[in-house]
Amino acid sequence: MTPRVPEPFPRIRFGGVSRTRRVTDAVVLGGCRVAAWLTLVPLGLVLWHLVDKGRHALTVGFFVHNPKPVGEPGGGMANAIVGTFVLLGIAAAIAVPVGVAAGVYLAEYGRNRFATTVRYVADVLSGVPSIVVGVVAYGLVVIPMGRFSAFAGGVSLAILMLPTIVRSTEEMVLLVPRSYREGALALGAPEWRVTQQVVLPAAAAGITTSCMLALARAAGETAPLLFTALGNRFWSVALDRPIGSLPVLIFDYARSPYEDWNRQAWTGALVLLILIALMSAALRYTTRRIR
């Protein structure tokens, strides 16, 4: 029997894509576009509101004066701005070394049960409400010390930052190509030197980014500071005393019945947002330079 030649396929009419397909395409694409715009709406509203209501009290005095008593005109948030930086400094001093070291451990030696547990705990910790962290820091630091303090505030922020730093450091270290490690090991480098001299520098930019991100999130935290740093209307940079911070002061001012204070709360919020934006910008600049 002669082999049968298969019949050719019926010719397709290339008259254009069918109507239903075109309609579906337009609907889905349009939906995605609307969703993308919707994500911009909250940010736009926040910005617009803050600028609209905050600009009135935005003067040089706001940055150089401490809060004044009710009824006295003027007054600013100088102590709270500095206080926020002090708190972030303490938090970073605790969370960055611990978090980075733990992240490196998880990435390089993390194939055991202990590491799995640490990973799980870090994930759980990142989901713990910040007010709970504040209460824990109250019990751990404030009660033994006998008073509210900047240090206690820093500890609570550090606990909040830790899981982010640990998990993202781990990811950044895992991203370092295997070939770097092999190259260094083949030169006779012991493992700890491979980590210290090749892996960590290669992951530095990513680790810096994640630390700054954690810091930016911590900068806006209010709840944990209520039980720990407490807030302070006067100039203080003593680590063992209550300290003012932008979020807490904004909270106090916004709840107050005084119109002047309400206005300053808006300005404080605007300043906080600008500070965080500046930090992110600085971070982008520095990490680009590292690369």
């Binding site: 770097y180 092999e182 260094a184 090991l185 083949a186 006779g188 480098a189 001299q197 520098p201």
Partner: protein, 281 residues
Amino acid sequence: MTLDTEVAPVAPPPPRLQATVHTEEAAATPARPPKLTARAFDLFYGAVHALKKVTLAIPPDSVTAIIGPSGCGKSTLLRSFNRMNDLIRGVRTSGRITLDGEDILGPTDVVTLRRRVGMVFQRPNPFPMSIFDNVAFGLRLLGVRDRGELEGRVELSLRRAALWDEVKDRLEVGALQLSGGQQQRLCIARGLAVEPEVLLMDEPASALDPTATARIEELVLALKSSYTIVVVTHNMQQAARISDRTAFMLSGELIEYGETSRIFTSPRQKLTEDYITGRFG
């Protein structure tokens, strides 16, 4: 399977008629004990039997090529010589591998072993730091701190790797700015800086263009007077051009091992002949 050189470690075959280049080598070889040997070496990745009773002896100051199709175990064998397979979980070995007659599989100091047995990888893998720091990396590991000594040794290594003239004015530039071929020569310089005795090369030119490949090959030929070089390659022409001895592997077994000119002109095993004539692989 009767292996051509099962017995070679003890008594290398007498020199035979062959191409001019190899005559001297062959004459020089018998007098010197082998640099590296594998004896009945087995390696398992978990349940996979990756190397089966491999036995061969690699003479000093020569180039030995390992050829064979993908997955035949040639890279695995190469990485056994400096215990890079230790990094892979689930690897078991049996048999012996010796360097200068000493067993390296036992409780050897792996760090010292890797200083004596350097390695160049398939893909150039310079560290993301300056050219200078790349070459100085191994020296600093060894505790060299003196700037003058570092500079001298870095220059010497770069010269040996035939890269000095191209980079001498920009040693502080990041190594990742170099071209692929330059990066690979940098990796060779980095390996040479710690004065190894053996240089293992895992398809050192397979990621490079023909010009860069030619430079690497010239370099290998220039280096063989002072280093024992073992090259894994996919490229049979390359094996023929640069090596003194060639080992052909298939499915984890060493099929044939001998003088390169002999392997390529009159292979004794049918499988070798089929492979080098391109009938499979």
